[in-house]
C-alpha cells in the first residue's frame, strides 16, 4: 500500500497539479451551478466567460460544451518576447515569474497552481509556474482555440530548450549547501531536475561531511575560547573512514 515512488513529484503528478490551474472558458451550453468538494462552480451561461479549473475546462471542451480562451502569455507575440528575454536580455536567469497578488488573508497565502495566472486576465509577459504543462495540455486538447498552433508549439519548444540549458549551467554553482536562486523555474523543470540536482548536492555533502564537521567544531571552539589540540586532525581522519 505504501507509495513505492522516490521523493519528488512524477511528471504525471505535476500534470495533475497543473490541472488545478484556473483557465477561462466561453461556454457553448448552459451548465447549472455545481457544488464541488473544492468549492462551488458558477453557472455557465453562454456567451459569458467564466474561470474554471483546467480539468473541468478540458471536460467541457471534450464534450464541445465550451471553448477555452488561451492564456494571454500563450500566444506568438508574448512567447516571442519572453524567448527574447530568456536568450538575449537575461541569458543567465529564468525570466521573472508573474507578479504575485498582494497577500490578502495572512493565514492562507495562495501559490501555484491556485494563482489565477493563466486566466484571460493573466499577465501576458511572464511564464507561470506550470507553463510547460499547461501549454502542452492546451495545445493538445484545444488546438482549434489557438490562432497559430504550430508557431506557438515551436516557441514553447525553443523556450524549453533555452531554459533547460540554464538549468544545466546552474549545476556548476551547486555545492553541498544548495544552489543559486531559481526564481521563475517551472513545475515540470523542478520535477525534471530534482533527482540530479538534489543527488549532486547530497553527494557533495557526504563527501564534505568530515570537513564541514571540523569547521563547525572550530567555530564552536572559537566561541568557547578552547584551543584545539593536534588530536583534531586524527578525529577528522576517523570520520572519513
Amino acid at each position: 500500500m505504501a507509495l513505492p515512488l522516490p521523493p519528488g513529484l512524477t511528471p504525471a503528478e505535476v500534470a495533475f497539479l497543473c490541472e488545478m490551474e484556473l483557465v477561462t472558458v466561453i461556454p457553448r451550453q448552459k451548465l447549472d451551478s455545481l457544488h464541488l468538494l473544492g468549492g462551488p462552480v458558477p453557472v455557465l451561461q453562454p456567451p459569458l466567460r467564466n474561470n474554471v479549473p483546467l480539468w473541468l475546462a478540458l471536460l467541457l471542451k471534450k464534450q464541445r460544451r465550451a471553448n477555452i480562451v488561451p492564456p494571454p502569455w500563450l500566444n506568438v507575440e508574448s512567447l516571442s518576447a519572453i524567448l527574447d528575454h530568456e536568450t538575449e536580455r537575461a541569458p543567465e536567469d529564468f525570466s521573472p515569474p508573474p507578479k504575485l497578488p498582494p497577500i490578502g488573508d495572512e493565514s492562507s497565502i495562495i501559490s501555484p497552481p491556485f494563482l489565477p495566472t493563466s486566466t484571460a486576465d493573466g499577465q501576458p509577459n511572464a511564464l507561470p509556474y506550470h507553463w510547460m504543462e499547461l501549454g502542452e495540455i492546451l495545445l493538445e486538447a484545444a488546438s482549434d482555440d489557438f490562432e497559430d498552433v504550430d508557431q506557438v508549439r515551436r516557441l514553447l519548444r525553443d523556450l524549453r530548450e533555452a531554459r533547460l540549458a540554464k538549468l544545466r549551467s546552474g549545476i556548476d554553482a551547486l555545492d553541498s549547501g544548495g544552489g543559486k536562486p531559481m526564481n521563475g523555474i517551472g513545475g515540470m523543470e523542478v520535477a525534471e531536475g530534482r533527482s540530479f540536482i538534489c543527488g549532486v548536492i547530497d553527494s557533495l555533502r557526504k563527501i564534505g561531511a568530515a570537513k564541514e564537521m571540523a569547521k563547525r567544531e572550530r567555530e564552536d571552539e572559537d566561541r568557547t575560547g578552547y584551543q584545539g589540540t593536534a588530536d583534531d586532525e586524527d578525529e577528522d581522519m576517523d570520520m572519513l573512514r
Binding site: 507509495l3 503528478e13 490541472e19 497577500i103
Partner: protein, 216 residues
C-alpha cells in the same frame, strides 16, 4: 439539497472554506511527497475533507438513482472531481505510510511518534509486533540475550535508523521571512516572497512548518 441555498450562504467576497481546504491538502500532499521525513498529521483538515467526501458520495448516488438526463453531465463533473480528491487523499496517505515503513522504530516513540495519526500509530504498532514476533521466532531467539534488541543505543551508535534530515529540497517562499542560515555555505539566504531555492531540509524545516516556505 438545494444548490442555490448553499450558494446564498456563501459570501461572494471570501474564499469558501472547502476551497481553502483543498488548496491546503494539495500543498500538504506536495510537501509530503518531497520532504525526507514525516510531517505533522493535519487531523482537523482530513476529517473535514472526508466528511464532505462522504456527503458528496451520497449526493452522487442519489442523482444516479434518479437518472435525470439533464443533470447527467453535472454528475460526470461531480464524479470526476470526486476521483481527483480521492487520488489526492490516497496518494497523501500512501506517501506517509512509505515513510513510516522506511523508519518504523524512529516513528515509534518520542517526538516523531506525535506526527502520526491514530490509524498510522495502530498500523505501526501492529506491524512492529508481528515483525518482532517473527524475528524472535526465526533467528533473534537464538542469539545471546544481550544481542536480541533491535533498538540498542549502546556503543555510541543507535541501531534505530533515522530519516536523512540534511537532504536537499526545493522550497518556495510564501512570504518574506528574513535571513536563513544555510549550513555548508558561508552566505545566508534573505528570504523574499516568491524565491525558489534548493536548500537542506534541516535548515528550512521550521519555516515550512509555520508556513513561511512551501516545498515544491
Amino acid at each position: 439539497m438545494d444548490i442555490d441555498d448553499i450558494l446564498a450562504d456563501l459570501d461572494a467576497a471570501t474564499v469558501p472554506q472547502e476551497t481553502l481546504d483543498i488548496q491546503l491538502l494539495t500543498r500538504l500532499w506536495v510537501a509530503e511527497r518531497v520532504a525526507p521525513e514525516l510531517l505533522v498529521w493535519p487531523d482537523d483538515l482530513i476529517s473535514r475533507i472526508t466528511e464532505r467526501m462522504s456527503a458528496q458520495v451520497e449526493l452522487i448516488e442519489e442523482q444516479t438513482a434518479t437518472m435525470d438526463p439533464k443533470s447527467s453531465f453535472g454528475l460526470i463533473v461531480l464524479q470526476t472531481e470526486m476521483e481527483r480528491v480521492k487520488f489526492l487523499v490516497r496518494s497523501y496517505l500512501r506517501a506517509r505510510l512509505a515513510k513510516v515503513d522506511a523508519h518504523p522504530l524512529y516513528y515509534n516513540e518520542g517526538e516523531p511518534a506525535g506526527r502520526l495519526s491514530v490509524e498510522e500509530k495502530q498500523y505501526l504498532t501492529a506491524h512492529q509486533t508481528l515483525l518482532e514476533a517473527h524475528y524472535g521466532a526465526s533467528f533473534l531467539g537464538q542469539f545471546p540475550a544481550q544481542l536480541q534488541r533491535m533498538d540498542d543505543p549502546a556503543g555510541g551508535i543507535s541501531m534505530v535508523e533515522t530519516p536523512d534530515a540534511e537532504r536537499a529540497v526545493f522550497v518556495r517562499a510564501l512570504r518574506d521571512a528574513g535571513l536563513v542560515r544555510m549550513p555548508g555555505r558561508d552566505e545566508s539566504w534573505d528570504v523574499k516572497r516568491g524565491d525558489v531555492r534548493v536548500v537542506r531540509w534541516s535548515a528550512v524545516r521550521d519555516l515550512v512548518e509555520i508556513g513561511d516556505l512551501e516545498l515544491i
